[in-house]
């Protein structure tokens, strides 16, 4: 019976698949130094940033694409990708000036930029393709000294801050995709929370990949000064595409003394159709540094989309008594592949980290958890607890865990546990017995399984995440 349900619901087409006809400015595909100069010129960037891009590009040409991940990545022709796309009618001053087509897109996505967001108290910096379209609540935040704007704006208006912190957490030579991003990054968000300020609202950005054949290369930089707090949300949905789209983003977070940053993501890019064609390649480098004492960083991610996911949000625990958390739900269905996890690098004394990862695989997908916990020799009394659970829905999918633990200090306590299982027949029987049909029961059980992580999401997001999870899972069993 579950096979039937499985078949039935895998027929569901991607609910968020559509494209909007907005005039998009695209530069010809290909990557070389001239293209990078052009991007930089179009964005009116200062000299140092161009130098940084070129340095990154030159380094990138010497690198090879990593092949250690448990992924089958078809060869990518980097010369066939267009590295810059911007909606033409940009820089609107009020909502009325925003392209109505674009607004419609957001409405279809259930992300109204207008009153609903104001009512829900969120400032939204919506990125459509590469240029920031609209930023709300800027003025309110500015009163507190908080800077929340697109990365390009930050480059123009706060070049000193950008120059000071950019690439300090993820250097341009960090890895293949980080180097590529550093060379051609288009736009992203910039957040600066000044000393002692508690950001009064959840900061949120929606990324969308819209124009065909344009890889999106965002770069996000979050700086939380001493004693500040911010919760940042990022959500993604992408329209249906037949060609694979490359996405190589960088997120850098700097957390100073006594500060706290919460970073939450819901990722639901187009995963390809049920035969595995199309879909987004999501190769992301996310890393935060707990620089000061008592700083705190938490990553929460719900990964339901993308054909291939290669993503390891990491924390460097440099400050004494700093702590980091990583909560993840990764769902793969059909031909999706995910290799995701985290790295916790303990350097300071009395640092602690907690990893909770829940993987769900269905269809013929492969879902891997790959994580590193490294305790440096000077990291006294470091503490880590990792738990990664996998659930298999179907007999053609795979679930894998690759936890690495490297301990160089005897005062450390590092624990890891992992389980792999399927939904037990007892549980389904229990639900059936009480009049809940199998499909709903599976949905219930899976949601309960992921609850621990979903609970970590901010309220507004939790609802959307649950919905997304349901949609993805509907496409598999429940």
């Amino acid at each position: 019976m579950s096979d039937e349900i499985l078949y039935e619901v895998t027929q569901n087409e991607y609910k968020y698949g559509f494209t909007t006809d907005i005039e998009t400015e695209i530069i010809p595909p290909g990557i070389n130094e001239d293209v990078i100069r052009l991007i930089s010129k179009k964005k009116n960037e200062p000299e140092w940033l161009l130098d940084f891009r070129l340095k990154a590009y030159r380094h990138w040409t010497t690198m090879e694409m990593p092949d250690w991940a448990y992924l089958k990545i078809p060869p990518i022709d980097y010369q066939a990708i267009s590295y810059f796309a911007a909606p033409r009618k940009n820089a609107p001053k009020s909502l009325d000036e925003v392209d109505p087509e674009l607004l419609k897109t957001f409405e279809k996505l259930g992300i109204p930029l207008e009153e609903q967001k104001i009512l829900s108290g969120m400032a939204v910096d919506a990125v459509m393709d590469s240029v920031s379209v609209k930023t709300t609540f800027r003025e309110n935040l500015a009163e507190l000294g908080i800077i929340f704007c697109s990365f390009s704006e930050a480059v123009q208006e706060h070049p000193d801050l950008v120059q000071k912190y950019m690439a300090t957490v993820v250097p341009y030579a960090d890895n293949y995709f980080a180097a590529l991003n550093s060379a051609v990054f288009s736009d992203g968000s910039f957040v600066y929370i000044p000393k002692g300020v508690r950001c009064p609202m959840e900061l949120s950005t929606y990324f969308r990949i819209n124009a065909a054949n344009t890889g999106q290369f965002e770069r996000t930089l979050i700086i939380a000064e001493e004693g500040s707090y911010v919760s940042y949300l990022e959500g993604c949905t992408a329209p249906m595409r037949d060609e694979n789209q490359l996405h190589a983003a960088i997120v850098e977070i700097v957390v100073m003394k006594d500060a706290e940053v919460k970073y939450s993501t819901v990722q639901n890019w187009y995963p390809g159709d049920k035969d595995g064609s199309g879909g987004v390649y999501n190769f992301v480098t996310k890393r935060g540094i707990c620089k000061g004492e008592n700083s705190r960083l938490s990553w929460t991610q719900v990964e339901t989309g993308s054909a291939i996911t290669w993503k390891y949000p990491s924390c460097i625990l440099l400050g004494d008594n700093s702590s980091a958390e990583f909560y993840s739900v990764a769902v793969t269905n059909n031909h999706q592949q995910a290799d995701t996890g985290t790295k916790m690098i303990h350097i300071g004394k009395n640092t602690s980290s907690h990893i909770l990862s829940k993987g769900i695989s269905a269809g013929v997908s492969n879902n891997s958890y790959r994580g590193l916990v490294k305790i440096n020799p000077k990291a006294e009394n470091a503490r880590n607890f990792s738990q990664c659970d996998s659930m298999l829905l179907g007999d053609k999918c795979g679930a894998h865990t690759f936890p690495y633990m490297e301990v160089n200090n005897d005062t450390a306590i590092v624990e890891h546990e992992a389980t792999t299982s399927k939904i037990s027949e007892d549980q389904i029987f229990y639900c059936n017995q009480r009049g809940i049909d199998t499909e709903t029961a599976v949905g219930l059980i899976v949601n309960g399984y992921a609850k621990e992580v979903l609970n970590k999401l901010p309220m507004e997001f939790a609802v959307e995440a649950q919905k997304l999870l349901q949609i993805t899972l509907e496409g598999s069993v429940g």
Partner: protein, 465 residues
């Protein structure tokens, strides 16, 4: 791809680094291929050229190879070792140098000096049951060519890596154990590997164990060194366990600090068979144990346990891989490490469950205690699962002795040293309890206790190391 030119550059530079270590062996092989052939067990000659080509392709594993990430063999491989490819006899009486007896074990005792098997033909006290063959592989390929050909190198070819390929090119002999159908050996077989040489020496050997349907065998392999030179041993052991058969493999390592050992144990299990592996490392230099167990039949049971007590600059890396290729099998893995001083531990526990291997139960556990600031532990439990109706779990911890337990004992007048000893002893107990040979269990208990008390600073009974 835009960077094809640079691709080539990096690969060549990587090869350059490797070739330096491999070159002397490649030359040695090419110049002496015939000599190696003449003095070798004929069964090992068939795949020799192929293995050599494979070795040329793969080279020695470096930490850049994912599964050798935590073992760096480049330093020990850089030493200029002697190889005994002409199979000269080493003047040694094994009984004189061997004193590491297990009291009361009354095993079928055999010696391997370096890589040469010492036959025990005039054994009167315990004659082997009828049909059981324990001889050198060289003799076996002469006397029982069909039997040897049927099994030899089957697993080595399947799991080939740089070290196995190297072994395939240079190994000339090893031991051969054959337990025919439904024969139950009433006492264990003890194979003592003794490394003895006046110059730095490398031994390659290839062993073959066949336990037929319904048979039962226990094999204890002890490693010892008697000279204070640098040794490198690279041993491949293939074990075929038939239907309903029982097989136990104990590996006890007690060698000098100058010894590097790469030991590959490959086991294939058929339906309803039961295998116990126990890997005990007390004293060593650098040790890399590769254990690959294929569960090729249904309803197999596999227990794999291991324990390492290390200090000084010991390096112990256990790479284990249990492949559930068929449904309804059960595996349980448990490894424990106590690391002191500047020792380094590594553990990889790979659990693979194939697509149709439903109803698999697989558990894995790795617990480690670091006693010192400079000790290091790397652990990588790894699950790869392609079947949905399975129960798999793994757990790994790295930590210290329980302070509450320490406090409890100190409160009751037990000295700190004694309390620590007791806790460590208790920590290793469940690995020791898995030993099914009582005499060996008692012996290991004593050895571990001595080792933990710091009394066993060298392998007991050996004269020099």
């Amino acid at each position: 791809m835009t960077n094809s030119k640079t691709d080539i550059q990096t690969t060549t530079s990587r090869k350059k680094e490797a070739v330096v270590l491999e070159q002397p062996y490649i030359e040695l092989y090419e110049q002496n291929e015939e000599t190696i052939h003449i003095h070798s067990a004929s069964a090992l000659n068939h795949g020799r050229r192929k293995a050599f080509e494979k070795f040329k392709e793969l080279g020695f594993p470096t930490p850049r190879v994912e599964i050798y990430k935590y073992t760096d063999l480049r330093e020990p491989l850089g030493v200029d070792y002697g190889l005994n490819i002409k199979r000269m006899n080493f003047p040694v009486n094994p009984y004189n140098v061997f004193k590491c007896d297990v009291p009361g074990i009354s095993a079928y005792l055999y010696f391997v000096v370096n890589d040469a098997f010492y036959p025990m033909e005039n054994r009167k006290s315990h004659p082997l049951p009828e049909g059981v063959i324990i001889i050198s592989l060289r003799k076996a390929s002469e006397d029982y060519p069909e039997l040897v050909e049927k099994y030899i190198s089957k697993l080595a070819e399947k799991h080939v890596d740089g070290m196995i390929a190297f072994n395939g090119a240079f190994a000339q002999d090893g031991f051969f154990i054959y337990v025919p159908k439904n024969v139950v050996l009433d006492r264990p077989i003890q194979i003592v590997n003794i490394m003895r040489s006046d110059v730095d020496f490398m031994a390659n050997s290839h062993n073959l164990v066949i336990v037929e349907q319904g048979a039962k065998a226990q094999v204890l392999v002890c490693d010892h060194t008697v000279d204070d030179v640098r040794f490198f041993s690279n041993r491949v052991t293939e074990v075929f366990v038939g239907e309903n058969a029982f097989y136990e493999h104990y590996k006890l390592e007690n060698v000098s600090r100058k010894t590097t050992e790469v030991s590959t144990l490959l086991i294939a299990q058929e339906q309803n068979s039961n295998v116990l592996g126990n890997i005990l490392t007390l004293h060593n230099g650098i040790t890399r144990n590769n254990i690959e167990i294929d569960l090729d039949g249904e309803n197999c049971e596999t227990y794999l346990t291991g324990m390492t007590l290390s200090d000084g600059r010991q390096v112990v890396d256990n790479y284990t891989s249990i492949l559930h290729n068929q449904p309804n099998s059960h595996s349980n893995e448990k490894f424990k490490y106590i690391l002191d001083e500047e020792s380094k531990g590594g553990f990889t526990g790979r659990l693979f469950v194939a697509k149709d291997a439903q109803k698999t139960l697989a558990y894995q556990n790795n617990k480690n205690i670091l006693l010192n600031h400079t000790a290091k532990m790397r652990t990588k439990p790894q699950l790869e699962i392609y079947a949905d109706d399975v129960k798999c779990s793994h757990g790994a911890t790295i930590g210290q002795l329980d302070e509450k337990a320490m406090f409890y004992m100190r409160q009751r007048g037990i000295s700190e040293k004694e309390a620590r000893m007791l806790l460590m002893y208790a920590f290793t107990a469940d690995v020791i309890d898995n030993i099914r040979i009582d005499a060996l269990k008692d012996r290991i208990k004593i050895l571990v206790e001595k080792r933990l008390r710091g009394e066993l600073s060298k392998c007991e009974g050996c004269s020099i190391c």
